[in-house]
Amino acid sequence: MDQPSLAGRFLDELRAIVGARHVVSHPEDLLVYEYDGSIDRRAPLAVILPASTQEVSRVLALAYREGVPVSGRGAGTGLSGGAIAAPGGIQIGFARMNRILEVDTVNRTATVEPGVVNLDLDMHAHKFGLRYAPDPSSQRACTLGGNIAENAGGPHCLAYGATTNHVLGLEVVLEDGAVVSLGSLARETPGYDLRGVFVGSEGTFGVTTRIVVRLLPLPETVKTFLGIFPDLDSACTAVSAIIGYGIIPAALEMIDALSIRAVQNVMDAGYPPDAGAVLLVELEGLREEVEDTSREVEAALWEGGAAQVQVAEAAEHRAKLWLGRKNAFGAFGSIAPNYFLVDGVVPRTKLTQVLRQVSEISQRYAMPIANVFHAGDGNLHPIMLFDERVPGALEKALAAGGEILRICVEAGGTLTGEHGVGLEKKEYMPLVYTPEDLAAMKLARDAFAPANRLNPGKIFPDGQDHPPSPHRAAPGLYA
């Protein structure tokens, strides 16, 4: 594909499949496709916007024949470089495959195309008294296809599980264009759990073209607590106390002092300026369940050392308590122009210890690190705040992030809870997995994609079968 004429002929064939308007290949038009929410970037050869499974299949078959690698791209909100094209590769975008095909209220399922936005599905389900539970922070933009690839999480995964726990069936296209159904409309499908291993395969097994997800009935009662704490340690103590009461809330989110400052810089989320940490706890379920556990949650917050506890049940009031959490990432722009976010997970009991170590790293690197994270399942989001115009700042942020990941692994945790490995964390994989563990994973990929043409260069550390890493640029605030 090095010769322009060859590339030209290839693009012509792609245009013949999806229509000339749906092949993006002008360098200026490709700019917005060269990055995701993370720090790596590379322009694709072209972006193809198919309208059907058949078109996806034909595009993949053609790329396979030509030896061109293919990456899928949803909204590009990913945080690990998952959607970034391989060298010389094309991207398939799903902007035209964005229909909610069916909501089945008896079976409580929805069938959607991969380009459907997460929140749009959830809001649509609400009309039927149902919901789609996984709620990544980017849910206003991110798509179901991307959620499948990354096994996306979100605050409410604490009680309801991540994307994988909600996917029943998938229609996928393999690297050679073959269309396969994985799973089904039934809750159990005989044979190997192909849709289970496909979810979270970061676009390396196949391209998803149709998705069947489980919907849950909307809860009868929802109650949100906001506990304001003098410091992070006491908020962590409250987290342990809640779990210790035998309560798994629907969500249990933590916001640290630096994040509180960032939020208050841009809006009034109602946080006192001297607060050391804020804990958001959401309870859902039957009236009786929520009432019963409420008392214990409130007790746990006070026992942990809360200076103030606010409670809300009405939707508008609850939304207000969530305001700071939902807008925290955008608010970091008020402190530094760039941020780099890592996604390590630790056992819940190690939160206090690991957060102290994160704070030490922040001091050692002289770089502010904010924490806004899913405390209930031990999923940290330390956020390095920096200015890319300062020479060496990006490298410093990356190094600090690497150290934090090491600490998470040493504490019995892992590299990523919901963002994926992608390009960003692939070199850290040997911290968690032995060569034998990684070899077993590669066997699975080789069964789905023997030629390794789909999203190559992701997940596994660079080696002989890997192209070099792409250009690394500082992230902006497009996450």
Binding site: D104, V106, N107, R108, G153, G161, T164, N165, L174, V179, V180, S181, S184, L185, A186, R187, E188, P190, G191, Y192, L194, G196, V197, V199, G200, S201, P217, P219, E220, I243, G244, G246, I248, L286, R287, E288, E289, D292, P347, R348, T349, D377, N379, G413, T414, T416, G417, E418, V421, M429, V432, Y433, T434, E436, D437, A439, A440, M441, A444, I459
Partner: protein, 480 residues
Amino acid sequence: MTLSQHLSSLLEAGIQVLPPERLPAYAIDGQTPQAVAQPATRQEVAQVLQWASAEGLAVCPWGGGTQMGVGNLPRQVDLVLDLARLDRLLDFQPADLTVTVEAGMTLAVLQSALAQGGKFLPVEAPLADQATIGGILATGATGPLRLAYGLPRDWLIGIGVVSAQGVASKAGGKVVKNVTGYDLNKLYTGSLGTLGVIVEATFKLSPRPADFAALVTGFPSAVRAVLAGQQLAGQVFAPQGLQVVTGPVVRRLGLEQAGGNVRKSPLAPLYERRVGGISRIAPEPRTGEALAIAFFQGRGLAVRRRLEESRRLLQSQGGSEAAVLDAGVGQELLGRLTGLGWAAETAPRLGLKVSVPPSAVGQVAALLSEDAASGADTGIIADPGFGTVRLLQWGEIPPNPPFAKGGSGGFDGSPEKIARLRDQVRKLNGWVVVEQCPLGLKQQVDVWDVEPQALEVMRRLKQKFDPLGTLNPGRFAGRL
């Protein structure tokens, strides 16, 4: 050189091998292995597999032995790998809500250890005091509470396996949320030991529920009960588990020893309330009648509310007056229902598991009920909220089955009848797995039910993970 002579080298390494007289107890579908090894560590499992795969032997992993009849006929059974000695609790962290165990520990032993820490693993299996964690994962075993808690795949967060060639590896970890690398947990779960031998598992846990109760309501037909159950399953106050059972199943639950020993039965409350109208629903529904049994667990007030509202809804949908069972009796009933058909006393001649979207359970129950109505000793256990229907047929088939009118699925065990049922169920977006059947039938049908394109991917997975066909050859879908 015989296999047992070969095994002497393993004996020198200290690996326990059973004497010949114990081999028949490890027969799989009538094939007795030439040897049974009982490794005590992951290293020993690896050693046995390195040796066995190099020798070209067929190796069959063995947990509690409760579901060894599941699967197609093995092509070959040389060596059984009994994992009973890998039964240690490795790491229980109550405050983190996680536990790591070896594969040979039984579910019952694990649950009692977890209970001491106030925790609970929401995984069920038939015969929990024999079924092992490894076996439950390999078969993907479940129970009635799947409605609320899902499947074992939803609770497994880390796994240790030994490959067919004897290489140990792991996937996942010990944290409750993890997308680091491919989710091979899902691949090994339900793979019947054909991709690797599960030696260790880490689960996330749930706080131990404070309360438990069950509700039993009678319906004039299985279909009526299923439709009512379906409505119930969509409510916010839905029970944690919901089953519809017909007469022949109820008889085998042991509810009917009414004669003299009622009060000794753990289900005595059912009978004590006979005057209050229970006799109309239990213990012995007439032909065609069915019981809906709902299970509730959680905090006291919530359990009570769910129970009361469920009772009201079921009765408004044609259910009889309900019997309420307390925790002890309810849990006994749950255990018996989960194990039904798997213990020797209740083992059917033919056992089918139909998986469909929940809305199709009524149609499947209707298809299958024709057979039950014919007077054949055939029972149904349906899960209207989850979409599972088990058909259990005991004894012989009547000479003129009444499904000649073309509709249905009568099961004289003929491959044609299975194929026809599969066609019908496929139209309902579902699957029919033959879980239990005479060996003669296994020679003629694939007991699994998988689409051809998906099977091709499965074949490639098997080829990659077990290129020599060492592990359970022939037993999986497509006789892989």
